[in-house]
Structure formats: structure tokens, C-alpha cells
Amino acid sequence: MELAYKPEKSMINVNGLIKDFGKTRVINGIDATVSAGEVVVLIGASGSGKSTFLRCLNGLETLTAGEILIDSVPLENKSSSLKQIRRQVGMVFQQFNLFPHLTVLENIIEAPIHVLKQEKVNAIQVAEELLSKVGLYDKRDNYPATLSGGQGQRVAIARALAMHPKIMLFDEPTSALDPELVGEVLTVMKQLAEDGMTMVVVTHEMAFAREVADRVIFIDEGRIVEEGLPVQIFGNPQEKRTKAFLSRLNH
């Protein structure tokens, strides 16, 4: 009748999420929970709604119906609430979206200074630590255009981390990279997972999912079709659509 055990703290709660673009239903009733420190990998065919789902989680898309709680706080479609949530949810994009008119260091300290109102010296110190962590300290004064794709994406990760987010969202972070540059970005992400960051990752890198994910979620037509441990989903999928997707992926 009482709490015999303490449940794991949940970082993300999604209840009955629906998202329409005009008349098209793109997210069709998703319920999901992500615990603190958990790494969840989303897989699914192109157009299945993975990006849209991820973008709902930090309020880049407005919800048609349902609710999302971030660390128990409901995401409301008010700019004050959105700003609050977005400080806690970092996002890394396929195209990096670095600010081209700012140097690497300036990219990273921009939001800490102007949003968190940190002192510039403190923000720079944090930025330099993060740059060392992603192995790019020597690029601090470069402009984004002079970086390789892998370096650019690592800067984008450092930029998101500078806000000290509780959650990090990754939308195909390595899809725009030349194959030989994928590894350096995945290494940084793996390190982040080991440090205990709560992560939701859309990726086609199945080796990464096997190794790092605590859970894999397969999405099709805006619904969760199947979810489970990586070994279950990759080794012994139950649903026909999961099997079809995975066999297409392997060919």
C-alpha cells in the first residue's frame, strides 16, 4: 500500500503524444518514459516521425495533443516555459547548425553568457574544458567553416553541453559526415553516455546502438511498434515491421 521501493527517477514522460502537420498525422499516439541516465536509441524508416518526435521533446514543434513532462515539469506552449525547458534539453542536429559568424569558442559561450547570464571568464573556462573534452581545444579561435564535419559536430555537442543540460537529444548526428569522421563523434557520445547523461538518439549507426543504448525503440508511422534491449531488437525482433526494417538496413 506504500512505496516499498523507490522507482527510478524519470527524466522524460510522454503521454498520448499526437502531432499533426496540417491534415497529416505524423505522431500517432506515443507513450514513453526515459529514466535519468538512460540512453535510448530511436530507429525507424525515413518519414516515420523520429525527428518530429525528438523536436517535440524540446518544444521545437508544438504538440497537437498529449503531454510531455521534462523532469516532472510539463512542457507548455508558452515562451517562458519553452525557454526554461530548452535550457535543460540540449539538441544536436544532423547539419550541426553552428553559428558561422562566430568562432568555435564564441559559439559555445553565446548562450551561457546571454541566457544563463554567466560571467564571460567563467563561460570561457567551461567552454575550454568542454573543447578539451571533445578534443578540439586548439580550434577555439577557428570559424566553423574551417572545421571538418566531425569537428563541427563535436563543437555542436560542446555548445549544447555548455548549458549543463539534463537531457541531450541527437537527431542523426553522424548522417551528414564522411564515413571516416563518424567514429570521432560517436566516441564523444559514448563518453557522454558513460558520464551518465540522459540521451535520446536518432541514428542509423547500429553498432553504436548495440554498444551504448540501454533501450532501442522502433518507430513506424508515428507509433512505437517495438522496444527493448538492443540484443532483443536486433537479435530477435518480434514484430513483422521491425524485421522488415532491420533486414532492409542490413542490405
Binding site: 526554461q84 530548452r86 539538441m91 547548425n97 553559428f99 559568424h101 553565446e110 548562450a111 541566457v115 566553423p144
Partner: protein, 222 residues
């Protein structure tokens, strides 16, 4: 032919002074125009009903001659109890006029920035205003700069229209000397040469500015 350009020398100090006033009108006019243009551009891309005000302003100003606008401000407004000096009317007219063209220039620059930039900054918790000021506008300005420079040159030449609302700028001053000395060819040639000098220097300054920026951008790749 009895042209005597030596007569210009005697009046040159006055002509240069008048050219100074021309520059002053152009600079203040364009500065005011940048301000109005920016506001109009932001209103136009906003999703508020105020965007119709911006649409109306741009439509009205671009669809009527600057000379008519100057007449309305200088001769018309006093009837409504608003009397402005010729100088204030000139700056206002040049500002309102260039602002309508600059609004479109700024809007184009802002809309050329990929939506990913806004998404990245909102994901970092930056609000709309901060995003515009720190991320979008600095990039948009680089794109808008050539057209902004072009409008500056247009406004400099357009300031000659202010002669008809009693401004003693370069054209009006030349006109006055032309009639008292009976040497219109000499004075209007002098005026043309001075305008040409100003626009040439201005475009040289602007293109060296653009060149520096584009060199920067080549290393930045934006």
C-alpha cells in the same frame, strides 16, 4: 562657345560647403532609413497584424515619387499644424523613402538565413529577440550590405530633390550661382562633377568594405 570654367574657382568654397550639406542629408537620411527599414522588415515578417502596417508603408512609399513625398511633408503637413524646417523635412523624407526600400533589403537578408540557425539558438534557450539580435541579424547584415550601399548612393543623389523645398544643398546652390552669373553650363557641370566625386568615393569605400567582409567570409565560409 563661351565657356569659362575659371568662374567656378571663385565660388568653389560655397559649392564645397553645399556638397557638405548634401553629404549630411544623405547620411542622416540613410541612418533614419536604416532604422525605419529595420522596424518595417521585422514587422513584415512578424505574424502580428502590424505586418499590414509595414506592407502599407512599403506599398505607399515605393509607389509614389520622392518629390511628392517631400512636398507633402514640407508644404502639406503645416496645414495639419505640423511645421517642420526644410532640413528636418528633407531628412524625414529621405529616411522614409530609403526605409521602404531598405525594409525589403533587410527582409531578404533575414529570410536568407537557414531556419536551422533559429532552431539551434532556440534549442539553447535563446528567445526570439536575442536570436534576432545575436544570431540572425549579424548574418543578414552581411547579405544586405551590397544593397544597403546601393541605397546609400541612391539617397545621396536623391538629396538633390530637397533643393525644391528650399534646402541650400549642392544642386540649389549651383542653381543660384548659375542664374546670377549667367553660367549654367559651368555650374551644373561643377555640380555633376562633385556628385560624381562623392558617389565614386562612396562606392569605393563600400566595395573595399564588402571586399574585406567577403575575404573574411571566404575563411569563414558563410
Amino acid at each position: 562657345m563661351n565657356l569659362d570654367f575659371s568662374i567656378i574657382l571663385k565660388y568653389l568654397p560655397y559649392l564645397l560647403q553645399a556638397a557638405g550639406l548634401t553629404i549630411e542629408l544623405a547620411v542622416l537620411g540613410i541612418a533614419f532609413g536604416i532604422l525605419i527599414g529595420l522596424v518595417a522588415a521585422l514587422l513584415k515578417i512578424s505574424h502580428t497584424p502590424l505586418r499590414f502596417v509595414a506592407h502599407f508603408y512599403i506599398w505607399l512609399i515605393r509607389g509614389t515619387p520622392l518629390l511628392v513625398q517631400l512636398f507633402l511633408i514640407y508644404f502639406g503637413l503645416p496645414q495639419l499644424g505640423i511645421t517642420l524646417s526644410a532640413f528636418a523635412s528633407s531628412v524625414l523624407g529621405l529616411g522614409i523613402n530609403s526605409g521602404a526600400y531598405l525594409a525589403e533589403v533587410f527582409r531578404g537578408g533575414i529570410e536568407a538565413i537557414p531556419v536551422g540557425q533559429t532552431e539551434a539558438s532556440s534549442s539553447l534557450g535563446m528567445g526570439k529577440f536575442l536570436t534576432m539580435r545575436r544570431i540572425i541579424f549579424p548574418q543578414a547584415l552581411r547579405i544586405a550590405l551590397p544593397s544597403l550601399g546601393n541605397q546609400f548612393i541612391i539617397s545621396l543623389k536623391d538629396s538633390s530633390l530637397c533643393s525644391v523645398i528650399t534646402m541650400s544643398e549642392l544642386l540649389q546652390t549651383s542653381q543660384r550661382f548659375a542664374s546670377v552669373t549667367f553660367a549654367p553650363m559651368e555650374f551644373y557641370t561643377a555640380a555633376a562633377v562633385l556628385y560624381l566625386l562623392m558617389t565614386t568615393v562612396l562606392s569605393a569605400v563600400l566595395s573595399s568594405f564588402e571586399w574585406r567582409l567577403s575575404k573574411e567570409n571566404r575563411t569563414r565560409g558563410c
